[in-house]
Symmetry: C2
Subunit: 133 residues, 2 copies
Amino acid sequence: MERNQRVEDYMRVIYRLREQGMVRGAYIARELGVTKPTVSVALREMEAAGYLTIKPDRAIELTEKGEQIARYVIERNDVIFGLLTDIGVDKETAQADAGQIAHGISEKTLDALIDLRHYLTFIRKTPFGNIKE
Amino acid sequence: MERNQRVEDYMRVIYRLREQGMVRGAYIARELGVTKPTVSVALREMEAAGYLTIKPDRAIELTEKGEQIARYVIERNDVIFGLLTDIGVDKETAQADAGQIAHGISEKTLDALIDLRHYLTFIRKTPFGNIKE
DNA sequence: CGCAAAAGTTAGCTTGGGCTAACTAAATTT
DNA sequence: AAATTTAGTTAGCCCAAGCTAACTTTTGCG
């Protein structure tokens, strides 16, 4: 299994779910809006591919590889989310759209967006730059 | 056939290809990087769904419905493309990423990005805003 | 004109990622 | 402890969207 959008989604969701305790397939299913069988199969494949491990008590844990992907995805997501909220998009919309945008854009564009965000922050803090308000 | 990403891609490509004369399935295939049979089937479905018509001489023409989608998609695309190039992304990368971004983001976010672009243009033209260079 | 190249189609296969139904296993409530 | 709810699995199906192979039709050159 190559590292596609699906893998990234699972890694991200699992990473986030950990903060609420043990990660279970059913929670992932709810979070992703798919059914349990779908998750069951996907988890088996991802375990085989080395992204996670399924413990005897069915708890899901990320491998180092999975962990890295999760952090990568979340970082990208956060950058986009931050930019969108900075420019006035409400949080819910920003969250939904950040996922869409973050996936599949190049490093170059991501870097440019990061710079842009810094620039906007700077501009806003600068008296003469404080034009919009 | 509902209006999915695939439909939007076809409408956009056909709209653009028109500028170089008659639109043929083979050109669409080249443009989208898929094979002729794929296009052949897709066009038949899209004709049935009312997005385009296939003339007796095999020329492809958009219906009003298809035309609207094409313009909508292209407009969104251009906004994103413009923003990305404004912030220093090279044209090729911007083109590729604009497609990714434009698809699937909300009107709210798109509007915010349009505003942002205007803002950046304004800032750049304004002496005190001319900080970055 | 005749024929090669380009365009288009059909049939049949593949892959990814879903789904439901039907089941077992575990956990929680009563 | 028994019953109910929740979690997980397996089997079998579906669908979109691609592909190749093999074919027909059209176009346009020499």
